[in-house]
Symmetry: C2
Subunit: 276 residues, 2 copies
Amino acid sequence: MDLLPPLINSSHAQMWKLVLAYDGTDFHGWQVQPGLPTIQGELAAAIERVCSERTLPQGSGRTDAGVHALAQVASVALESPIPAPNLLRALNRTLPASIRVLAAAHAPSDFHARHSAVAKQYEYRIYRCEICPPEVARYVYDLAWPLDIAAIHQAAPLVLGMHDFSSFAAVDPDRTARMAVDPDMDNVRTLTHSSWREEGDLLLYTVRGNGFLHRMVRNLVGTFLEIGRGQRSAADLPALIASRNRMAAGATAPARGLFLHSVSYADTEIRDATLA
Amino acid sequence: MDLLPPLINSSHAQMWKLVLAYDGTDFHGWQVQPGLPTIQGELAAAIERVCSERTLPQGSGRTDAGVHALAQVASVALESPIPAPNLLRALNRTLPASIRVLAAAHAPSDFHARHSAVAKQYEYRIYRCEICPPEVARYVYDLAWPLDIAAIHQAAPLVLGMHDFSSFAAVDPDRTARMAVDPDMDNVRTLTHSSWREEGDLLLYTVRGNGFLHRMVRNLVGTFLEIGRGQRSAADLPALIASRNRMAAGATAPARGLFLHSVSYADTEIRDATLA
């Protein structure tokens, strides 16, 4: 549910697809909040400065405070007849260096960054080192303790497929109440990729699916890490999922290690500056 | 000249050598300033919390606001009989993630991070790309314009050797006045390494010398970049140095691309967590 409808959506407007990268450290997440710096708020302010149009760009999904993006996608309808390269350059001159527009292109009038998305991919970065270099500290979860890497490799694929992921969703009484009366709302999602890999001192988790519940990736990672520490067993994952009980899963991993990696639309995967 | 003498320096005190890395973005430089976050101030506060001792750690040199360090060295005398690994861990638990103590070791009682230093090395990082990824924006000077790389390669060694580097020193009337009455003060420094290299989209400058004047590295880089843009010629460098006139050299390159890389002491180069 969007906080506000787009303020401009007349028949003269051109729909745009914007690809954004951001360092989420200094922002209160994607979604606009009065008086707080947010990605959506900064983007709307930059568009207003460049195009003199008040809009509310729609994201492919909200990212939480501190979560980063390598390729978030936003849609926005603009009246201004500005050429795409000019819009790209002007937005990047206006936005803080912690938010970049990687690409800007026209989109069909019915394009919506969230409704049109068919899949999303996230990456979670863990830095396996006693002392975390300041240069990477904003972008990793630094974790020196020993981990049973074989166990987390074994656990990763056990969350694949279509499941009710309530065990990994942030508890939200409002959402639960809405779900009780809305037959189209549920916590069932399908994961098509879930794997860990090591790159030097980095331990990286990649997960891809048709949608993600609030804090789902960080709760999956937190659960895998408890398996890696021997606090729970990979074999318990099916029962943990079946319980549909947030209390059954692990702690939420810190936001700073999480990156929205890419968003897919019908035949197009938006990753870095790639635009169809 | 130090702002304040160390507050504790009794005969019972043990001298320590600390190696620090930091992201200088959110600090007003190394040197303690009332009411402003500085590296020296954060380190002193962390030592006070860990050891209950008020001290003023001495750095190998001041870094300006926004300048980073891969291996700054600090000396401090402490009464506390704390073992080195415990001091290291306790300081890192207390300091913000943007400052890390990479190593802590006992040092001779006459060790002084600045007075004992015999050489320092800096690295300046330029990112050659139209759109600078938010993840690296804090740590590079992003510069998309075309550069004559051959010209800057040719220029780099022309600053080697012993010179009066007044042309590259920040103008400071107080310092000029002190220099006029103090025969031991001058702007003569010896550079033993000066070179550029390319690593993918990065263009990196390394400079090593027995000492550096205020803003000297950033003024050297700014001058090399003007040579790279064709605004001045490498062949003009000897006359530029000889002029001992700050107005003759190029603009100051931004702080965010500059890293203090390492500090050398007699037979020891302090780089990363290496301690003799």
